[in-house]
């Protein structure tokens, strides 16, 4: 599925915090949305999944998922779409899972909302867990009994079980150790390769984005200041802000104290 954002403006009161002409995630593509804190990248991903208004923001413009306009959906239409077609994973995986339910019950509730029977739901949950290399035994746990990496894989497994076609990932590895980050990034790549899902990957980490994403859009103060194929854009950034970002990355092997 493809996602196209056009003339998107997001604001709080009389302050406009996002003003994007165009942002596109093609079918089966992984696109990086990069920026520093306050750049507007997170509120943009919340707007795409229909949660910006509940965060107190206003949203204008167009967000189309395979030609279907999302900005005009009401909450019940959103409930059907969310998870089913489009899912989101967050920076702090443990706190994004409802703490009062066991992981297995979270799956069952989400899947039944989308029409599965209880037995089907249990079966699909176990399969999705194996797909993200987790033991189905973890379904009996509460979210706080998982490590950060396990919880992030559970969140991805939930998107898989719901057969979401578009994944919005907001800094999904920023809170994880580098060895765990490598696992999650590999999993996202595999989901794209095997399931053909499209991914909007929101991150501040250009090194991660350069290895993961086909295309990249750089955001500063609510606007996309540069975008293009990842390799050329980061190798030879045209915009001064992108140049500053690239130059500021601490790199191994560049300095010995």
């Amino acid at each position: 599925m493809s996602l196209i954002v056009r003339d998107l403006r997001i604001g709080f009161g009389d302050r406009t915090v996002v003003d994007i002409d165009v942002l596109e995630v093609g079918d089966g593509a992984i696109v990086g949305l990069v920026g520093e804190s306050g750049s507007g990248k997170s509120i943009t991903s919340l707007a795409i999944i229909g949660l910006a208004r509940s965060a107190g923001a206003w949203v204008e413009g167009s967000i189309e998922l395979d030609g279907r306009e999302l900005t005009t959906l009401d909450e019940s239409q959103w409930r059907e779409l969310r998870g089913d077609r489009i899912a989101m994973i967050f920076q702090s995986p443990v706190s994004s899972l409802n703490p009062v339910f066991r992981v297995g019950d979270l799956f069952v509730r989400a899947l039944r909302l989308h029409g599965a029977t209880k037995a089907e739901a249990r079966d699909r949950a176990a399969r999705a867990m194996r797909e993200v290399v987790l033991s189905p035994d973890l379904l009996r746990r509460y979210p706080h009994q998982l490590s950060g990496g396990q919880a992030q894989r559970v969140a991805i497994a939930m998107a898989v079980a719901l057969r979401a076609r578009v994944l919005l990932a907001d800094e999904p590895t920023s809170a994880l150790d580098v060895t765990v980050q490598a696992e999650i990034l590999e999993l996202i790549q595999r989901m794209r390769r095997e399931e053909g899902i499209s991914v909007l990957f929101v991150s501040h980490d250009l090194a991660v984005v350069s290895g993961l994403c086909d295309r990249v859009a750089i955001m500063q103060d609510g606007q996309i200041v540069e975008s293009g194929a990842t390799g050329p854009t980061l190798r030879a950034p045209a915009h001064p802000y992108t140049q500053r970002l690239v130059a500021a990355i601490p790199r191994l092997g560049s300095a010995h104290a």
Partner: protein, 318 residues
Amino acid sequence: MLELRELTVRYGAETAVDAVSLTIPDGPFGVGLVGESGSGKTTIARAIMRLVAASGGSVLHDGEDVLRARGGALRAYRHAVQIVFQDPDLTLDPRMRIGTAIAEGMRAHGRVSREAAAARVSTLLGEVGLEPEHAGRLPHQLSGGQRQRVAIARALAVEPRMLVLDEPTSALDVTVQARVLELIAALRQQRSLSYLLISHNLAVVEQLCEQVAVLYRGHLVEVGPTAELLDRPAHPYTRALRAAVPELDEALPAPAIRPDATADAAPVTDGCPFADRCPMVLDRCRDERPELRELEGRRVACHRAEEAIELPLEPPRG
């Protein structure tokens, strides 16, 4: 000089730091402390600052045991060693003006007149790249990077010889981080500071530290000169950490160690703490804990270190 000797910290039944021995020489010198979350990095920092009680071992400052220090000796130690946390907001009272926050430490540690303190605050603000006007501001009127500079100025106010820096730039944007790292590098030369720098970012450690110590589940698994450890890691866990760092314009690193698929890390028994995730594990590793030993200029705790150090750095992509 600060010396940890078999420092051990237990929280109830759980051993967070297990007999860690590590020396931080006089400045200018940086020692990096790396390892995954829960490996005990922050617990070591807190034990050094006496914010948690050690369960065993000692911390020697210029030969004096600081864990048992009281009165004047303890005050002198608290002048000499200061800590900077990841989140400056934990250090700064939101209602206290920046100048007052910096002067507070100074005045708590000795008799300083109000005028002298104000002058010192201006100097310190300049030293960390802020303006004298910032003294009159409240923390929320500054950016995150500026607040971290204030936290550093506050730590420097008592003229310490050593800093414990606990992920000092992890909460900052990358362009801001770059400038704070430059500040730390400059201060270390100007003030001949030594520091223990806790970071999850190996590139940051490489930039600021002569030595690096690698922790895994409370155990020191490798320690030695930064360049050698990063170029030729001898412990499989150091190799995994090194290999997992994503680099600009390169393919993503393949996961180098087995994911924790089932949940609880197997309890560490007599064997190597890394055995259940190690790609080079032998039966022997599960029964016999490897001791830290010298190998090619570093100390490493692995039965197969001689083989590991010879392996190419990037694992084959599978």
